[in-house]
């Protein structure tokens, strides 16, 4: 029992779900008509069923009343006949039943239940008579209604009258009522359909209008249009809310456009500021470069003089100089020569951009060979360095003078930071990175670099060691980086501290070399 409300709720939910599923893809217009019609069908069918049921009960009651009245009359009329056991007279009394065609049987029973006299409708036989006798009352069974009425004379029961009628008549009546009800339902439904088709527009029209408006707004982005309110119900409120929303959107849209415009103006202003700044910077950069070049170029001459005349002075004075004087003079000469080196390096650095020439295919094997025989021959011999070139190196498209400088710096760098008592070993190798770039590596077995210093070493004047430990200007690797950048490549280092470093850079591969690379790759693929 306690579960039943839950079940009802489930059933309601079920019906709701069915309706939702059926009407999912319908337009709101059809949905409204469908809902109205569904409600009409259900209510009319229920009303029709109740009406028919009521009619059925009424017809039965009416029939029972009718038959009871007849039975009462019969009972009255046959009193004497029963009292005097006159079956002929009883039969005559019963014969009046023939006027009612639906009555199939009439019987007069004596007090002890014996059938004294009977009437059978023409065409029927004894099978229609009731199997057992009742006191006053009626019963529906086997398609008949049977009425019993006791015959009472002066308070004494003399017997019973029984009348049985077939239900065909009320079936016929009921059937005609059902037909009428059905016809009424059909006509009502047609009327309901016509009316609901017209009336649904009261609800659907403003909604459809609103939907159309919403679509137009989203398509054309015109937030100035407004929905027209036609009623004060929920749809009216919806249109109000929609319009209010449009107001807000319009306001925001305007604010957004304004802000955008201001932003654009600001950006333009900033851009022009920046352009001016860049121009100024370029200007000053150029001036600085010119200054550097000119300064270093012009500084070389007096420095050389200080250095060479200092040496001349040392030689010419000879024994006249005290030990202190000689030491002081040597400091001076040394300082001048170091300054000369630095200026050379600075000149080299500035020349990377100012004295650059057009790129041409350059065979790295020849470059390394040249360095070995000329620029680095002395130092290689002094340090007893092993210079290993793995495989033939690639040909790169570059400024050959600068690439020579680059390799010289890297090899010299590798020789300079050596562990004491270890024979230096420099290995040079090259490999293609992709179709356009070659990676060249210069590996040494020197002291190595800590990982956190990998970036710093390429910055100008940034030195990892004191001058006393390792000589240097702090410009060499900065020059290297500048050269590589000019060639559109990258430069970097990998190292294990204490075991050696590998400096690498990438440079554009020369066309001939590239063709060779491609051919080699194709061959590999074919194999």
């Amino acid at each position: 029992m306690s579960k039943s409300p839950e079940k009802i709720t489930n059933r309601e939910a079920g019906i709701g779900q069915i309706v939702a599923t059926v009407s999912r893809n319908m337009t709101i217009r059809h949905k409204l008509v469908f809902m109205i019609m569904a409600a009409c069908v259900v209510s009319l069918v229920v009303a029709g069923a109740i009406f028919t049921g009521y009619e059925w009960a009424n017809l039965r009651q009416f029939m029972v009343m009718n038959l009871s009245a007849q039975a009462e009359i019969l009972a009255d009329n046959c009193k004497a006949a029963v009292a005097f056991n006159d079956s002929e007279d009883a039969k005559e009394v019963l014969s009046s039943l023939r006027v009612e065609s639906s009555i199939v049987f009439g019987g007069i029973y004596t007090k002890d239940g014996k059938l004294m006299s009977a009437y059978y409708k023409v065409g029927t036989d004894k099978s229609v008579q009731p199997e057992r006798l009742k006191e006053d009352g009626y019963e529906f069974s086997g398609g008949y209604v049977t009425v019993f009425k006791r015959i009472i004379l002066d308070g004494e029961v003399l017997g019973t009258v029984c009348i049985r009628s077939s239900l065909e008549k009320i079936w016929t009546m009921l059937w005609s009522r059902i037909k009428i009800t059905f016809a009424v339902i059909i006509v009502s439904l047609v009327a309901a359909y016509v009316i609901s088709s017209k009336l649904q527009s009261v609800v659907s029209k403003p909604l459809l209008k609103l939907a159309k408006l919403a679509k137009a707004i989203s398509d054309e982005k015109d937030y100035s249009v407004r929905g027209q309110k036609t009623s004060n119900d929920e749809i009216g409120s919806l249109i109000d809310a929609f319009n209010e929303m449009l107001n807000q959107i319009q306001r925001r849209d305007k604010a957004l456009v304004d802000a955008n415009r201001q932003l654009e103006a600001k950006v333009a202003e900033r851009t022009s500021d920046l352009e001016q700044t860049i121009e100024k910077l370029n200007e000053s950069n150029k001036q600085l470069q010119d200054f550097t070049y000119v300064a270093s170029h012009d500084l070389r001459e007096p420095l050389r003089k200080i250095s060479s005349f200092g040496q001349l002075l040392t030689e010419s004075l000879g024994e006249k100089l005290t030990d202190d004087d000689r030491e002081n003079l040597s400091y001076m000469i040394d300082g001048a020569s170091r300054m000369q080196q630095m200026i050379e390096a600075l000149l080299t650095y500035s020349r990377v951009t100012t004295r650059g020439v057009d790129f041409e295919p350059t065979d790295l094997n020849q470059v390394v060979e040249g360095l070995k025989n000329f620029e680095l021959s002395v130092v290689l011999e002094e340090t007893n360095t092993k210079l290993i070139v793995e495989k033939p190196l690639h040909t790169v498209n570059c400024d050959s003078t600068q690439i020579r400088q680059l390799l010289q710096n890297l090899i010299a760098n590798g020789l300079k930071y050596q562990k004491k008592g270890v024979t230096p070993e420099i290995t040079i190798r090259s490999k293609t990175v992709d179709d356009s770039m070659v990676r060249v590596e210069v590996q040494d077995n020197g002291i190595g670099i800590k990982e956190d210093q990998f970036e710093n070493i390429f910055v100008m004047f940034r030195r990892l060691h004191s001058r006393q430990e390792y000589e240097g200007t702090g410009i060499g690797l900065a020059v290297c980086k500048k050269i590589v950048k000019r060639h559109g490549g990258d430069i970097g280092v990998s190292s294990t501290y204490g075991e050696g470093s590998t400096f690498w850079f990438t440079a554009p591969v020369a066309d001939s070399s590239r063709a060779a690379v491609l051919a080699a790759r194709e061959n590999e693929n074919e194999v």
Binding site: N77, A81, A83, D86, D89, D154
Partner: protein
């Protein structure tokens, strides 16, 4: 020997059954008539003065050998129109000490055994509003009101409505309808 015995037994048995049947036939006839008498009463209305005294019972007198009739005994306990029914059976007319007592009755049944006294009795009860009933031929012609007749082994009755009218007794049409013969006074007489 045994066959003869058998036949004898069968013969006697048959005789016994016949006798039994004869008794059972004659016995219910009395009962049926007694029931009819009560029913006649029910379809008859007496003048008011005859039944006005509420303390007086409705009297049914029977003259003849109906002393063993069960139905009559049962009738004695019944009520008619809220009045007690009093049934009295006289064995014969001779046994009645004062024949005038018959005048006080409502229904008087004269058995066939009292045929010879019919006329005397009728004379006594004349104009006393008594419903006279009998079972002898020509009873109606003698001035009686209802007479039993036999028709196709069935007990029926005939009515002399003229006498009934004279005695101010109203016999209902339902009863008259069932009568085999009704004597009605010719209006021209």
């Amino acid at each position: 020997m045994s066959r003869i015995t058998c036949l004898t037994v069968v013969f006697f048995m048959t005789l016994c059954i016949q006798q039994c049947v004869a008794e059972s036939v004659s016995y219910p006839e009395q009962e049926v008539k007694a029931a009819f008498i009560f029913n006649f009463m029910r379809f008859t209305d007496w003048p008011r003065e005859k039944i006005s005294d509420s303390n007086q019972p409705v009297r049914i007198f029977v003259i003849g050998d109906y002393t063993n009739c069960k139905t009559l005994k049962e009738m004695d306990k019944k009520q008619y129109n809220d009045k007690d029914v009093n049934v009295h059976v006289f064995k014969s007319y001779e046994n009645i000490e004062d024949p005038n007592i018959l005048k006080t009755s409502h229904v008087l049944f004269i058995c066939s055994s009292q045929k010879k006294h019919t006329k005397d009795i009728l004379k006594i009860v004349k104009n006393s509003n008594v419903l006279t009933i009998s079972e002898v031929d020509n009873f109606l012609e003698s001035g009686g009101i209802i007479n039993f007749v036999k028709e196709d082994q069935k007990i029926r009755f005939e009515v002399n409505r003229t006498i009934a009218d004279d005695e101010k007794l109203e016999i209902r049409s339902k009863l008259l309808k069932l009568a085999t013969r009704v004597i009605i006074k010719n209006p021209e007489d």
